[in-house]
Subunit: 271 residues, 2 copies
């Protein structure tokens, strides 16, 4: 399955159909310009309360925008006709915190008791950054965003605990305030940065060696800016070792029908 030449102008349902048919991009960053993208965490019903409470207690990295019933895989309120088992480019399967498989189709791994959480993704506001004149380096360089496990602990919930994960974008120093202001509008997509500048303040030793995604090249005058990242619950799965979890593959997101200039994108999608 070949990839489209201009993924930015695809409609979300077109992108989902491509992924369902097996297309496997390096990342969905830059795909379907102007539409919200989401992280996936699916856990057995028995762990669902802990997962939702973990998200509530850590709203920066874990802004939940939809939850399925147990066994459900159709988040109709976010994307008509979508199937969470097939419509993401790639999935990770965890058993007792260990990554046991990375697959383009999770149908065979979807259990009747899985509750799926969709969590806002910062890819969603990258179009708004670019339109505000803020360059998005990893998009310019055709790469996945770099993501890092930090030394900051999330607030635990029941059996789930783990570190904050962040995404990083190099931003020209003079445009950092604009990046803060633009991203800050989108609280359900992680909102404003959690840290600006020195990576060691987050316990990050080397920006060239991200824990997930690709390293990204800085240009002269760029400052590293760090946003809370929806891989955080995945890191909690790795740290806390529950029996089973299905997630998206970092940077390969679920693309929703939710327009980022629509009413749901800036406020809560719950209300």
């Amino acid at each position: 399955m070949s990839l489209p030449e201009e993924p930015a102008v695809l409609a979300p349902h077109e992108a989902r159909a491509l992924f369902r048919a097996g297309a496997l991009p390096a990342t969905t960053s830059g795909w379907c310009r102007g539409y919200a993208q989401a992280n996936l965490l699916a856990v057995p019903r028995d762990l669902a309360f802990d997962a939702l409470l973990f998200a509530c207690r850590n709203p920066g990295p874990c802004p939940v925008i939809a939850v399925t019933d147990p066994g459900g895989f159709r988040p109709a309120e976010l994307a008509a006709g979508a199937d969470l088992r097939t419509d993401l480019p790639a999935y990770r399967i965890y058993e007792y915190g260990l990554l046991v498989a990375e697959v383009p189709d999770a149908t065979g791994y979807w259990r009747d008791d899985l509750v799926a959480f969709l969590i806002g993704c910062s890819f969603s506001f990258e179009t708004a950054l670019a339109e505000a004149g803020v360059p998005v380096r990893h998009m310019e360089q055709g790469r996945n965003v770099p993501m890092y496990v930090t030394d900051r602990a999330c607030r635990p919930a029941g059996r789930l605990a783990g570190p904050l994960v962040v995404s990083m974008r190099p931003i020209p120093a003079a445009l950092v305030d604009r990046a803060v202001e633009v991203s800050g509008r989108y609280r359900t997509m992680h909102g404003p940065p959690v840290h600006i500048g020195d990576p060691s303040a987050l316990g990050i030793a080397d920006l060239d060696r991200p824990d997930f995604g690709d390293p990204v090249a800085f240009e002269q005058g760029d400052v590293p800016v760090f946003w809370p990242c929806g891989v955080t619950p995945q890191a909690a799965v790795m740290a806390s070792r529950p029996p089973y979890a299905v997630t998206h593959s970092p940077g390969r997101m679920f693309i929703t029908d939710q327009a980022m200039n629509g009413p749901g994108a800036t406020g809560s999608m719950w209300g």
Copy 2:
């Protein structure tokens, strides 16, 4: 146990000690001026996911500010030394949606598997309303706030569904905008009104016959203003009939140590 002459100036821990000793006010409205008050919903662990999801999907009536571990009754982050089983004036016990007891002490009803949710209460911003020059009629009249079951359905979650419950305050027409602005600052305490004016728009037939609390007298030029109410999850229990739940008695709240001019009161208390 006699009630204090000036409950408004008590410290929260003093009020909690009085309730623990058996003092039974008609309402905690006006008690411990400037401190946040909270609704209580405690359900068995098996129903906790549905309860938390119901709250997330209905953030207006159900702004959760703390959650205990199963069996826990000490919300230390909100009130040092407090005991949720004894420190509210009165409790309601529900079995299969039926009110089977109303008691001043819930110790004998607290099960090892109960997960307690504390939900912000609009009493918390009544001091701010009064300080902004907005009269609070039920406080002036020494009554509980009137609360009404509406014809608006909440978004269901799992086994929980039910109607929106609102509290109502008569506000002088010229001050309604100020009441909206002031209450709107306190999103974890229900935030701005959900409706202003005609009660029939909410399916309320007679303001003089509230479903909970006391009727309140209007003065010339007052307009009824309706806020989402934390009795809403209690109404969901009544409508959905889960096997067991413990709640506060409407209008008789848990008084926290959280100052309403502190950082937690206007933003999320989770973050």
